[in-house]
Amino acid sequence: MSILVIAEHDNSSLKQATLNVVAAAKAIGGDIDVLVAGENCSAVAEAAAKAEGVNKVLVADNAAYGHFLGENLGELVAEVGKGYSHILAAAGTVGKDFMPRVAALLDVAQVSDIMRVESEDTFVRPIYAGNAIATVKSSDSIKVITVRPTAFDPVAGEGGSAAVEQLDVVKDAGLSQFVSEELAKSDRPDLASAGIVVSGGRGMQNGDNFKMLEQVADLMGAAVGASRAAVDAGFVPNDMQVGQTGKIVAPQLYIAVGISGAIQHLAGMSDSKVIVAINKDEEAPIFQVADYGLVADLFEAVPQLEEELKKVL
C-alpha cells in the first residue's frame, strides 16, 4: 500500500493538522508520501520532510496552487494520486473543498472526517452531528479520505529525513481566480489545535464582553471560540465558531461560557478531555456534558475566574 498525504499549509509553514493526518496514514500502514502544493512553498516541503514516518515529499510549486483553489488542486491531486491506494487530507476548509473533487475525478466515493482507522478499507466517522458513529467500508480501488485532525495524535515534526522531489505537473483549470482574503489576525493559539479553549455564546450579550474571555484565555494560553449564536449575533467573526458547521475541537480543557449546549455546538467540542460550563440556567443542556458546572452569572463569574487564575498560574 502507498498513501499520499496532502499537506495543509499557508505557503510558509506546515500546519500541525498535517502531522495528525500522517498519524492517520500510519494507522492504515504502508509508504507515506506527502504532497506539498502551493506557491513559494519550499520551507513547507522542508518541514514536511522532517516529519516522522514520511517516505518522500513531492512538491508542486506554482502560482496555480498559491491560494489552494479547489479546481486546480483537485486536478493535480487526482493526477498525482492515481498511483496510490489512499489519498488523505485534513478535514479543514481546504481539504473539504478540493478532496471531493479529487474523488469525483477518480470516480470513487470519499470518506469524510474519519476519527478512527479499523483497517485499510474500513473507517469510523461521525454522522448526525456526532450523535451516531458509523463504521464504513470502502469498495473503491483508491480510498479518498479526509481526516478529523483532533482524533489522531500528531507524529513528531522533527527527526525524519525524507527526500524532496519537485513535480513539474501544472494544472490550471482556468475556472476560478483568487480575488481577496480577509484573515483574522490573532496572537492566540490556533483554535483547532489549542490545548485550552474558552468559548462564549449568546449569553455574552455583545462583542465587547468577549474581552473578558480573551483576558482569561491569555492567562491560560488558550484560544477563544464561540457558539453559532454568538457568531450570528455578530459578536465575533465566523472563523471562531465551534460546532457541526464550524471547527471541531478536542482540547484538554474546554470552558463554555454562556453557551446553552445545542446539539450542533456539542458536535464540535464534546470530545474535549475536560469540559467546564458556566451558565446561569441550571437546566442548560451543556451541564449534561460538563465535568465541572458552575451555575452563576457569567458577568460575575468570569472576572472572578480571572482573579483566581492569577493566584494559581
Partner: protein, 249 residues
Amino acid sequence: MKVLVAVKRVIDYNVKVRVKPDNTGVDLANVKMAMNPFCEIAVEEAVRLKEKGVASEIVVVSIGPKAAQEQIRTALALGADRGIHVETDDEVQSLEAAKLLKSVVEKEEPKLVILGKQSIDSDNNQTGQMLAALTGMAQGTFASEVVVEGEKVNVTREVDGGLMTVSLKLPAVVTTDLRLNEPRYASLPNIMKAKKKPLESMSPADLGVDIAPRLSTLKVEAPASRQAGVKVADVAELVDKLKNEAKVI
C-alpha cells in the same frame, strides 16, 4: 439566467437522534423530517437572485423517496418555479447524487447550481464539489456572499482563517454556508399556490445513472457517553478542581 437548486429531505435539526438497537442505522420511524437547513439557505439565495432580476427561473431538484416531494413543494412555496423529483427508495450516496444531478444539469443547462454545503444527516460535505468536478464547472464552496457580474460570479467563502473571495466563470456550482442569508417563511397563500406549480418525476434509471453505493455501512453506534460531572459552588472551587483534580491548568 436559470438557477438549479438541490434540496435534501433530512431529519429535523432539532431532533435528538436515536441509534437503532441492532446498530444498522438511526431510527427514522415517526421522526420529524424537514428540508436540510443548508438547502433552505440555497433556495433563499436563488429566490433573492430572482428578486434582483439576476435569475429568470428557479428549478428545484430533490433525490429521494416519494415523501421528498414535500420538500420540493416547500421550495416551490418559497419562490422556486418548478420541481424535479428523482424518485428512489434506495440510499443515494454523494458520488451517485452528484451523477444524478449532473444528468439534470445536462438537461436543464442552468448557469448557476446552488446546494447546501453539507446535509446534517450524513455530514459529508461532498456533493457540490463532486458535481462541479463531473460537469467541469468552477466551485464556490461555503459561500457567505454571492454576487453575479456578467459571465462571472464572485463568491466570498468562509475558510478556516477568515474569509476568501474568488471569482468563478459561469456556469458554476455554489454551496451555501449558514451566514449566506436568513431564509424566509412560506406564507399560506404561497403554500397553496405551490401545489399548482409543475413537478416532474423521474427515476435514476431514466437519467441513466447507476446508484449502487460504494461505501457500505457496517454498523452505526451511539457515541460514548460522557460521565456526569459535578456542580461546583463557586469560582474558587472550580479553579481548585481544574488545578488539583483534573490537572488541566
